[in-house]
Amino acid sequence: AQRVTQPEKLLSVFKGAPVELKCNYSYSGSPELFWYVQYSRQRLQLLLRHISRESIKGFTADLNKGETSFHLKKPFAQEEDSAMYYCGLMIYNQGGKLIFGQGTELSVKP
């Protein structure tokens, strides 16, 4: 079955602390994974995707096929990182539709 799991609904950290948003997936094919972010009153937007292996706004995510995980990390959280984060799995043989996790709300306190 195709599934994305984000175990934490809410993650609260203090400014400057490290943050890790967990994402686990279940997929029989070769996974293509994404992190999307939705800031307050803004539309959902791509944060990063694993194939590009880039760092955006200080966030990185590494695909671990052994653990079927794609956790999002940032060493020093900023208040402006407060948002809703969704991990997404692209289903290649179904038109590239995205299967999303339930989302994790990140709250960075001053």
């Binding site: 937007q45 179904q94 038109g95 590239g96």
Partner: protein, 114 residues
């Protein structure tokens, strides 16, 4: 250029009425996706279009839901005989082609069924 646009931004309707939600994708994007964002279900896929055809309708929750796309551009999601459980934010996304491109999301239509 302009991003994905959706209309209306908000829609309040009475149970049993039909509603139409519109999506204007980014010009030149051949792939178009509909998702639904609700409190209990998170973000769930509904349907996608490649050009004007919809190869995968598996995500539509019931036969009250239908969607079409004309001219390879605008898409309309129709919900007939709305129910309270249809209340959600309906998101549209487009990408240049299917499968390999980033999906760009619209602002969504917030539907409330009373």
């Amino acid at each position: 250029g302009a991003g994905v646009s959706q209309s209306p931004s908000n829609k309040v309707t009475e149970k049993g009425k039909d509603v139409e939600l519109r999506c204007d994708p980014i010009s030149g994007h051949t792939a178009l996706y509909w998702y639904r964002q609700s409190l209990g279900q998170g973000l769930e896929f509904l349907i996608y279009f490649q050009g004007n055809s919809a190869p995968d309708k598996s995500g539509l929750p019931s036969d009250r839901f239908s969607a079409e796309r004309t001219g390879g551009s605008v898409s309309t999601l129709t919900i007939q005989r709305t129910q309270q459980e249809d209340s959600a934010v309906y998101l549209c996304a487009s990408s240049l082609v299917i499968r390999v491109e980033t999906q760009y999301f619209g602002p969504g239509t917030r539907l409330l069924v009373l």
